[in-house]
């Protein structure tokens, strides 16, 4: 069975268990997801299902997307991703998956993949956690600077900065996986998953929720 779903981040809140323990949770509206296609080892060389989540109006979509969805007897979808499987898929195009896939398989831990909030152009202190420089002791105009970025001595043909040197630049708006988060609760009635802790991306952002890879 597929152990992944597509969803939308709804927001964060907290839940209190009967012993009074409090857990911060992220609410994700996951599914219903339509199976748009099946990848098989024989044909594509790997097993996976392609899922679609969230409807988009046909006039806002494109003919190729409409045609692709029509093969699964559904309308065009907002968010389409493949979920890898370790065994041949037991579903076929047009099938609808809900949060039941998590409750049936008794999944306790999940990974959530999303696109982080964009932070724009940021300096090294925020972006890479550099320490910056002294606030006083004669420091002028470089309190948040990265400091040295390389030696003056030749490396090969001449003085240079090593590749991959962490510097200021665009931060955020990248794909990130939050791994091994506890699945607190599955609300089948409203298609909601309650996942402990935070999840990449803004409220309303699209995420992939899958069974945790590293934790059983």
């Amino acid at each position: 069975m597929t152990l992944g779903l597509l969803g939308m981040k709804v927001g964060m809140t907290r839940v209190i268990d009967e012993r009074g323990g409090v857990s911060p949770v992220t609410v994700v509206k996951a599914g219903p997801c339509v199976v748009l296609g099946v990848r098989s080892k024989a044909r594509e060389g790997y097993d996976a299902v392609q899922l679609g989540f969230g409807d988009v109006k046909p006039h806002r979509s494109t003919m190729p997307m409409i045609g692709h969805a029509a093969r699964a007897n559904t309308g065009p979808k907002r968010f389409i991703r493949e979920i890898r499987l370790d065994a041949p898929a037991e579903v076929q195009g047009g099938d609808v998956l809900t949060v039941d896939v998590f409750s049936k398989a008794a999944v306790g831990w999940v990974d959530v993949i999303g696109t982080t909030k964009g932070k724009g152009f940021q300096g090294v202190m925020k972006r890479h956690g550099f320490g910056g420089m002294c606030a006083s002791h004669g420091t002028e105009r470089k309190h948040r600077s990265p400091g040295g970025i390389g030696a003056n001595a030749p490396r090969g043909t001449g003085q240079s900065v090593k590749k991959g040197k962490r510097m200021a630049g665009h931060m955020g708006d990248v794909r990130r996986t939050a791994s091994s988060l506890r699945l607190v609760k599955v609300d089948a009635e409203h298609d909601l998953l309650l996942i402990e802790g935070s999840v990449p991306g803004p409220v309303g952002g699209m995420v992939v929720v899958r069974k945790a890879v590293k934790k059983g």
């Binding site: 809140t13 907290r14 839940v15 012993r19 409090v22």
Partner: protein, 131 residues
């Protein structure tokens, strides 16, 4: 709370009814304490100096003096460990947060607490006047 879906999630964790109390009231908070297998109820009495947030996040702060030392405890209103909140005395507070009480010593702490038993009675009148 921004999303109606969040309200759905929080609903089962909210208490059906919460005792009415206000900032400035002197209350006994009945807290459940679990020691190993045993469970017992312990009261924490003091003045409510703050009440914050809403929904499942709503909490309040109770301040009391123990051995001449100020002690403050925060409680989540909807925590099952807060079994009951008993109002011992109603206080008159003109602001939402009574942090200034921390600076007050001795009798000054109490001056502020006027008994206002008419509050309940005054409310229907205000409703009738259309306020």
């Amino acid at each position: 709370m921004s999303s109606p879906l969040l309200a759905i999630v929080e609903k089962p964790y909210l208490k059906a009814s919460v005792p009415e109390f206000h900032v400035g009231d002197t209350v006994d908070v009945m807290t459940r304490i679990v020691e190993g297998e045993k469970e017992r109820i312990q009261a924490f009495g003091g003045v409510v100096i703050a009440r914050r947030s809403g929904g499942i996040n709503e909490s309040f702060t109770v301040r009391r003096i123990v051995n001449n030392e100020g002690v403050e405890r925060k409680f989540l209103i909807h925590s099952p460990n807060v079994v009951d909140i008993k109002v011992r005395r109603r206080g008159k507070a003109r602001r939402a947060k009574l942090f200034f009480l921390r600076l007050r010593i001795g009798k000054a702490r109490k001056l502020r607490e006027l008994r206002i038993t008419q509050r309940k009675a005054a409310e229907p009148e205000m409703a009738a006047a259309g306020v």
